[in-house]
């Protein structure tokens, strides 16, 4: 029955890792977009191209 622990470790790390990566990406993206928008606001010649999404 100790196999179960390996199953839990396998699923836990992989699914947890995917979730962690997704959250980290979302955070970095939000921060980068904020910085990008701020710079655009500062730049006089800023174009208003949509960032997508």
């Amino acid at each position: 029955m100790s196999d179960v622990w390996f199953v839990i470790a396998g699923y836990g790390v992989i699914l947890g890792g995917l979730a962690g990566y997704a959250i980290a990406l979302a955070r970095r993206l939000a921060r980068a977009r904020q910085a990008s928008l701020r710079i655009r606001g500062e730049a006089e010649s800023a174009t208003t191209a949509d960032l997508g999404e």
Binding site: S45, A46, T47
Partner: protein
Amino acid sequence: MPQTTIYVAPRLGGAHGSPPPAVDTDGLARLFGRSAALAGVSLRIEAGRTVALLGPNGAGKTTLLRILATAIRPSFGGLFIDGVDALRHPEIIRTRVAYLSHASGMYDDLTASENLRFAATMLGWSGAEVGTVADRAIAEVGLAPVADDRVGTFSAGMRKRLALARLLVARPSLVLLDEPHAALDEDGMALVDRLLGLWHEFGITVVVASHQADRVVRAADATVRLHGGLVAEVSGSGVRAGALAPVIPSYATPLGTIR
């Protein structure tokens, strides 16, 4: 004194109207890390002119010459040489441009003669011609007595002469010289002056950066003064400075428009 031979690349056909300018740059800018070595240079140089590039250290002379030589790419801006887009087709430009840089570009463990034969082979001379062309160029720059010595034993001035000899082996329509007088003795400087005269006579466009302002200005049709990576002043004939386009960010960057 040996007879100087200057090989010339044929001008690219301007089928209709006047030939394209030898050099046509549009807002060339280049960043190295965080510093802007060039902040936007728009110049148009007519074919056959000799142009002196002046300015203090750090003005961007070397960077401009390296971009013209296609040794580095500009961060922004466009470059046409003889009407050819140099950023899209550097391989065409390289058949037409001869460039003397600060470094000699020679191999220390080879002799002067071996170095120049290698250069002649790379520049497209075939088997039998390589030896003649190389020997003639070495004699022309006054290195014949040390032709079989290794370049590693050469002084800075001798290296410069050897680098000049490589220019004589090339068949350019545009010659770019970065401080050709540096490290040379009086005799060597006279050699540079004589070559400048010959290139001019043969209708080859020359852009020469130098601290020896009086020497190059004497040989030049026009002078361009750079300061802080921008064109500060243009005088003489055959060169025009263009207006700078404002810096506009672009979010998709196909090659050649903005980089």
